[in-house]
Structures are given as structure tokens and as C-alpha cells.
Symmetry: C2
Subunit: 339 residues, 2 copies
DNA sequence: GTGAAAGCGCTAACAG
DNA sequence: CTGTTAGCGCTTTCAC
């Protein structure tokens, strides 16, 4: 079956400890011996048994990505694949493995949380930020499992997180619309029980207050980060005759685009539309979508690197990282009409 | 720190072995004792240390999902999120955890493969089928790691796999176009170094041969399962004046749609388009896409369940599961023109 | 039915 | 520099 340290030791003519030292790159091994041992290891394809190792080191080399039920909707768009790519890249670089916990139901949640936290399979966790008030964060703290949030928590005290600059992003998008001359600007928000939803709405409000001064509550409709939700929200917005709409996600913008098309309205001539995310599809839809690009992959990489740094170098003051975003101007905002 | 069996035993006034028996649902424990032990476990929130357990049982309760470099492109569309949802659902149901291995570079591949297979962290693996000739499958067999493929391998001997019915799906789509009266039907294939790409092209050929008899090689263009690839392929198809196009994936169909729009052609009036996958976006694009729906989530669940069955009940004859697909008729195929 | 004891494969003192 | 020894927390014989 699988080789053990003992057998490698015998083959190399040394003791178990020496082999262990070689594998873990510890000092106090003669260069010559070191090479001999490595050769045997390579020739045999030996790999240390992780269970045995972590039983004594109390570390597993595994971090978990937890995706709560509440953010499952996000799973329908390419956000998670990109985030995961970023995370796995950092994991591969730093020799960590990634375990994935996708919670489908409340029962699974209650069954999985204790196991995830107490079975000591995970050295730490990356958590896709959940609804405001989700008890997951509290559980993590209570169980002393190091973790990093993707997205801003409602109360960031003592918590490390990585997020895109949602407020500034939304502010930039809406300012752009104002600069183009639109005045009746509506917004399709994200779910307002999430900080993302709240922050992007905040950016919208900031821009309007600063440049325009007037807020019309009828032009603010809550969406849910789905295409259907964007479609429905646009339908509710239409009677209030918006000249332009800022959708808090591209997926919702696509829904809005569809609603406008179905209503026989032209984008951007009748209604301008701006999104948030810059999904691949944003460039190729009709008309190409003006949107706020957020660096999703980098968010994943950063989150993983912060966590791994904490794991490797011990706890640090919590880090709050906000990644800058960028307005990508295409044609759905009507920029070509040169207002 | 974390509780151990020993401490639970002391609290319950029994021996370590008895607690172990209770936890593992073994016989030979008096009902009364059993309940007393469970109560202590519940009250303390005790969770057995997985490393210690798997050191002796030689099982970890972890299965891996391996995504080779070659299929990374797929990661750009919602295929993987759905597949992962299906897999995690089965994992949660059967008390397994999922570890994710996304290979970004050749170096990572070479570094990770040995570790994945020999470090005994994984009980088994689900592998997203890779290019024909990829050595991963061979490695898995050599290392005796039980695995299930998502997608048909080129040589299925001794291998369990789960796939959608690609040949029939493509055949149905193209037959539908033929029935609508189109004759010059082109196809944008998947990469022809993958079985998916090959099988969907086969279905196209089968339908044409059966109902029409004539194959025009100019109407067959290889794509790569990306939007840009679909766009480029459509551009190459255009000079040959196809009346209809079967794209081997929705993402490529979107690219084709864009190319047609940019060329000032109307869909389906000038060129009809049919896709494959039925992504969420297929229903909401313009015009709504006629496509072949494949049950992605179910594919994931099935793959996981086959693997878990093998792990729990020992090796079985390899299972080859082909899930049926379904033509979803919308308007991009021109059905409304009632030919 | 229950407990005592051995040992899974590794790391980490501690001797030498 | 290197080897010996003692566990890490659990399951699993084997006695009783």
C-alpha cells in the first residue's frame, strides 16, 4: 500500500526523524544525507499522510469556502466561478487546499456548521458575506476559527474582509449619468438586507444629492440580484418614466434591458441603463452595457492571501481591504449621443 | 481547547471505547448508556477529530472535484456553479465534504496531482472530463483512487462516468431545424479534442445524413465554448450563407447572435440559431434562444452519488450514465414563421 | 456489554 | 548532526 516515513527511512538508511526533518526543510541535516533522502522520496513518489501529520501539528492545510444559503442566488451568475478561481490560485501558490461548503437548506446549515468548525478539518475559512444578522460570523468567532469575509459585514469590528468599492462604484456610475444630462435617474438596488445592496444604493444617493439634490423614492426599487428580479423591478420603474436606470448588478441590468425591449423602448434612446460587475456578457449584450467593473478574481485572491497570512503568521489586526472599481463606458448609457 | 473522546468518556462515566461505539452507531451498548453518552455529546458540542479518525479508518470523508486546466474555459459560464451545486447537495446528504482542485497552470498540475492522489486526503474524486489523451485518468487509475468522470472519456473501459446525451441532443436540435424547412444548416462545434465537442458534431452529422443526405464541410466550423469563439466562428460561417446554425453551446450561440446582429442580419428571419445547454440567459436573450436543455445539476448529483456508492459499498462494475436532454423551443429557430 | 491496550503515521522534544 | 521516545485522538481487537 502507501509508503510510510519509516520505510523511506529504512531505504535511505537513516531514522524516521531525519526524513521528517528533510521533508519539513528543517536544519540540522547534513547536505549529503538530505540529498540522499530526497532522492529516495522522489524515486518512490512518497507523500506524507496528511491525517497523521495534522494529528500532531494541529493544522490541516485546508481552508474552507463557505457559501451560505442566503447568497445562493449569486451562484447563478459567473461571480462565484471567478471568485473561486482567484481563491484556488492563491491556494495553489501557498500549498493550501480548498474545501467547499455550499449550504442548500436550513437543515444542512445546522448540521454542517458545527462539523465545519469543530472537527478541525479546516485551518480557516473564507465566507461569502451573507445577510445582515446571519449568525455564521458569530459562530466562527465563538469557535475561534480564523476567517475572512468577502464583502463588508454589518459590524466590521475585529473582522477582516475584502470587498469592492461599492459606494464609490455606484457613485461613479450615477455621476456619469448625471453628467450626460439625465435627471430622472432610477435605481434597481440589490437586496437591502445585504451590505452590498445597501452600499450601492448609498453611492446612488450620494451622487444624486451632490449633483442634483432631489431624490424621488418612486425611482428606487429593490431587486434581488437575479435577471427576473431586474425585469420585475424595471416594470415597476417604468410608470415613473425614468430617463436612466442604475442597476446594482449586471444580471439585473440584463433583466431591465429585456423589460425595456419588451415594452418597445430603445436603449439608450428612451432609457439609458448602467450596470455593476462587468460580467463577460456585459460587453456582448445589445446594446453593450456601460457598467462598473469590479475585480472579482482579485477579490478572491486577496481574501485567500489575507487568511493564509493570518494562518501562517498568527493573528494580526483585522484588515479591511476595499478594492477600487472602474467605470467601463459602452453604449447603453447613451454616451454616443454626446449630451 | 477542543474536547476529546477521553473527556467525553469521563463525563459520561464510561470508557473511551463505549463512546466510540455510540458515535459510530455500533451494537453492544446498553440503550441507557447510549442515551447518557449522546446527552453529554450534545451538551458539550463534541465533534470527533477527523484527522485522528481517518488515521485509523483510512478514510477521510472528503471527495475532490478536479477541474483540469483544459476545461477552465467552461469555468467562465454558469456550467460549473450548477454542477457544483448538484455535487454539494449530494455531499451534504451523504455526509461527505468536497475539496476543490482548480488547475491553472501546467506547473500546478504537476505539483498537485501527486499530492491529491497520494496524500490520502481524498477518498475519491469527480473529474470534469478533460481533453482526449489527458493523462489525469491514467494517474487516477495507477494510484487506485476511485473516481467518476463528468463527461464521456475517449476510452470508457473500466471507467464510470455521467454525461448528458450529447449525440441525441444535437441530433434533435438539427432535426428540428430540418423539419422547419432549413437546408443549409451550419454548426459551430465545440473543441474537437473533447468528446463533448465530438459527440455534438456527431449528432449534427447524423441528423443531416438521415434527413438530408448532404454534408457541406464549409458549414462546419470549430469553436471553443467561448462567446468570442462563437462570434469568430459565425464570421467564418457567414460567407457560406447558412440558413440556420446549430451552436454546440449557448455561450457560443450568444457570440453567433452578436456576430449576426453586427452584420445587420435578423434572427431568425435571415439566419436561425439553436444552442445547447439552456443556460438561464438563453430564455432572456434577444431573440429567446431555442436550445437543448441538459440537466447540469442532476449530472453533478448523479456523479457524486455514483462515487459515494462506490466508496461506501466497494467497487462495482463501472457505470455509464447518460442523462436525457430536451429541446426547448423558443423563437431563435424561427418556429413562429410556421414553415 | 464494557474496558484495557495496541497502534494508525507523523512531529517534536530530548538525548547523545 | 542524528536517533530514540513519547504522544496527537481515534478505532479496533481482545479479554473479561
Amino acid at each position: 500500500m502507501s509508503l510510510t516515513l519509516e520505510q523511506i527511512a529504512k531505504l535511505a538508511g537513516v531514522s524516521r526523524s531525519t526524513v521528517s526533518r528533510v521533508i519539513n526543510d528543517q536544519p540540522n541535516v547534513r547536505q549529503e544525507v538530505r540529498e540522499r533522502v530526497w532522492r529516495v522520496i522522489r524515486e518512490t513518489g512518497y507523500q506524507p499522510n496528511l491525517a497523521a501529520r495534522s494529528l500532531v501539528t494541529r493544522r490541516t492545510g485546508v481552508i474552507g469556502l463557505v457559501i451560505p444559503r442566503a447568497v445562493q442566488s449569486l451562484f447563478a451568475d459567473p461571480f462565484f466561478p471567478q471568485l473561486i478561481q482567484g481563491i484556488t490560485q492563491a491556494c495553489n501558490t501557498h500549498d493550501y487546499m480548498l474545501a467547499l461548503f455550499v449550504l442548500h437548506t436550513k437543515e444542512e446549515e445546522q448540521k454542517l456548521y458545527p462539523r465545519v468548525m469543530r472537527a478541525r478539518l479546516l485551518d480557516g475559512a473564507i465566507v461569502a458575506a451573507s445577510e445582515i444578522g446571519d449568525p455564521l460570523v458569530r459562530h466562527l468567532i465563538e469557535n475561534r476559527l480564523p476567517f475572512v469575509l468577502v464583502g463588508r459585514p454589518d459590524d466590521p469590528t475585529g473582522i477582516s474582509f475584502v470587498q469592492p468599492d461599492n459606494v464609490i462604484g455606484a457613485y461613479t456610475a450615477v455621476s456619469h449619468l448625471l453628467r450626460l444630462g439625465y435627471r430622472r435617474i432610477g435605481t434597481i438596488t440589490g437586496p437591502l438586507n445585504t451590505t452590498v445592496g445597501l452600499d450601492r444604493r448609498q453611492g446612488y444617493l450620494d451622487a444624486l444629492r451632490e449633483r442634483h439634490g432631489v431624490i424621488d423614492e418612486n425611482l428606487i426599487v429593490e431587486g434581488d440580484f437575479t435577471e427576473a428580479g431586474g425585469h420585475a423591478a424595471m416594470l415597476r420603474l417604468l410608470p415613473h418614466r425614468p430617463e436612466a436606470v442604475f442597476a446594482a448588478s449586471d444580471i439585473m441590468a440584463f433583466g431591465a434591458l429585456r423589460a425595456l425591449r419588451e415594452a418597445g423602448l430603445s436603449v439608450p434612446d428612451d432609457v439609458a441603463v448602467v450596470g455593476f460587475d462587468d460580467l463577460p456578457a456585459a460587453a456582448s449584450c445589445d446594446p453593450p452595457l456601460t457598467t462598473v467593473r469590479q475585480p472579482i478574481r482579485r477579490t478572491g485572491t486577496q481574501a485567500a492571501e489575507v487568511l493564509i497570512d493570518i494562518l501562517n503568521n498568527g493573528p494580526t489586526p483585522p484588515r479591511h481591504i476595499t478594492l477600487s472599481v472602474e467605470l467601463v463606458i459602452r453604449s447603453s448609457c447613451g454616451v454616443e449621443r454626446k449630451r
